[in-house]
Symmetry: C2
Subunit: 321 residues, 2 copies
Amino acid sequence: MGEFELIRNFFAAAPCAQGGEGVALGIGDDCALLAVAPGEQLAISTDTLVAGVHFADPCDPFLLGQRSLAVAVSDLAAMGATPVAFTLALTLPTVTADWLQDYARGLNLMAQGCGVALVGGDTTRGPLSLTMTVFGRLPSGQALVRSGAQAGDLMCVGGELGNAAGALPLVLGQRTADPSIAGSLLAHYWSPQPQLALGRALRGKATSALDISDGLLADCGHIALASKVGIQVERSKLPVSAPLVAFLGQAGAEEAALSGGDDYVLAFTLPSVELPGLLAAGWPIHVVGRVVSGQGVTLLDNDGRDITPQTRGYQHFRETT
Amino acid sequence: MGEFELIRNFFAAAPCAQGGEGVALGIGDDCALLAVAPGEQLAISTDTLVAGVHFADPCDPFLLGQRSLAVAVSDLAAMGATPVAFTLALTLPTVTADWLQDYARGLNLMAQGCGVALVGGDTTRGPLSLTMTVFGRLPSGQALVRSGAQAGDLMCVGGELGNAAGALPLVLGQRTADPSIAGSLLAHYWSPQPQLALGRALRGKATSALDISDGLLADCGHIALASKVGIQVERSKLPVSAPLVAFLGQAGAEEAALSGGDDYVLAFTLPSVELPGLLAAGWPIHVVGRVVSGQGVTLLDNDGRDITPQTRGYQHFRETT
């Protein structure tokens, strides 16, 4: 038995590969089989992470296991879908038992938290990279797409922004920080929590949604383009965390919130009539602006002046996505 | 707009990305959405191809486009599924318009032939590799799995074997051949035709099935293991093509048929009562052996003597799968 066949057997025996609701056939055959209930659709998303491009190489395999799955599952949250299953295509230059065990431990932990089962994939030799394809279910016609924003809607986010971007100089070893600050920021980077429950709560309420991966301004631009509307973001309303402000200062924290990728917080548009009920139910929703007729994204200061930066999207150590 | 965003727009505009039956939402949102009819299940398979491991680098991007999709869709054929959609995760070191256009042309051609729509994916910078995830539909409970073979069944294949393995020295430039021979063998390697119609015809008839990717003996071993049976293969019954015999000689052709990967012909077990009807319907089925009680795969010569080779699976320029 070759070492890559051993790896496949190793993943097949992992806790997260032991099936779940909707999984009719898991790892081990030519295909996995998923059952989809009548009246439901299947949501699908694929993400690739390349060593040295999307994450530092070497990095902690346990943290990579968590993050690689979280990043992919976040796309399900952004559609309002309930996770069902995922496949993992893992390309490795060499195989070490320690690396695999630590990676699988992180993967299992995130899979358990998200309620998602490993149903297949491929393991190959080559430069380190990972491609995750995730599957979720949701009632037909209730997906949160990008194209439904209407002028007059509120522009909202599901939590504090910029923490993952703030963590990046720590991840890359370019800066150090007080342990309490570093711990908080690094947790956001390495184990983002896909906002699955919020996504489901927004079904039938939000008019558009996505998860912030390119930065608030860039991702609002995606909604504006798909919905053929303009979006105004107010700088004074950006929710930033105390550790981020302590680390970068207020202006730096706001920059990270505007342009930092990797937060995987939901951004969505909401008719104002829906806001009170969602806040009363305890959802951590922050209104950061509004949808207007027109096109593109405009950043406004306290006095309503246009202070839109010329360069959108955070340029970190990956050149592109 | 970055060059990788341009690539995404390029693929979104490709003919194969314009939707199809079962595709409720295609490229451009956080997820694609597939509709699954009541009484049907979704079959899923993922395959990664790495440059220099699974294909020569550089290679003809048009041929790579065809082959990368065919290899993945072949897993749907092996389950008896009807193709619906696929995602493409493409990692590229540099972007050239010529490469992309040629690759997409091959991809479109194979997608059209298989009736499958591109619904999403990811495009990233890094060493050249491709991960395809394919989706098919099939009636619940009718999938052709590996685990149902019964002692007494016939061991069958859906066509000639060994052509792709025979092509490999040509692909690698290690040998040359007469153009008519080279053309025939290379076609099998670069544009294998997934046996989708045969897979569907075997639903409810074959007791197990897979597509031959590791070589007949190795893949019969997968059925034997999953079904807890033994399989006897008769060397004299191996279907080999005239071009392959002309290129490798009879013994060499039989070796390629036994151990050569990449044929993507279906191998399946069939109760003998099912054979006449399938042959009468014109399916190109070759009986190469039979299922017995016991375990493992045994190769028999004309006199029924055990001539099982010690090393199974073809060692070509990829070290492992």
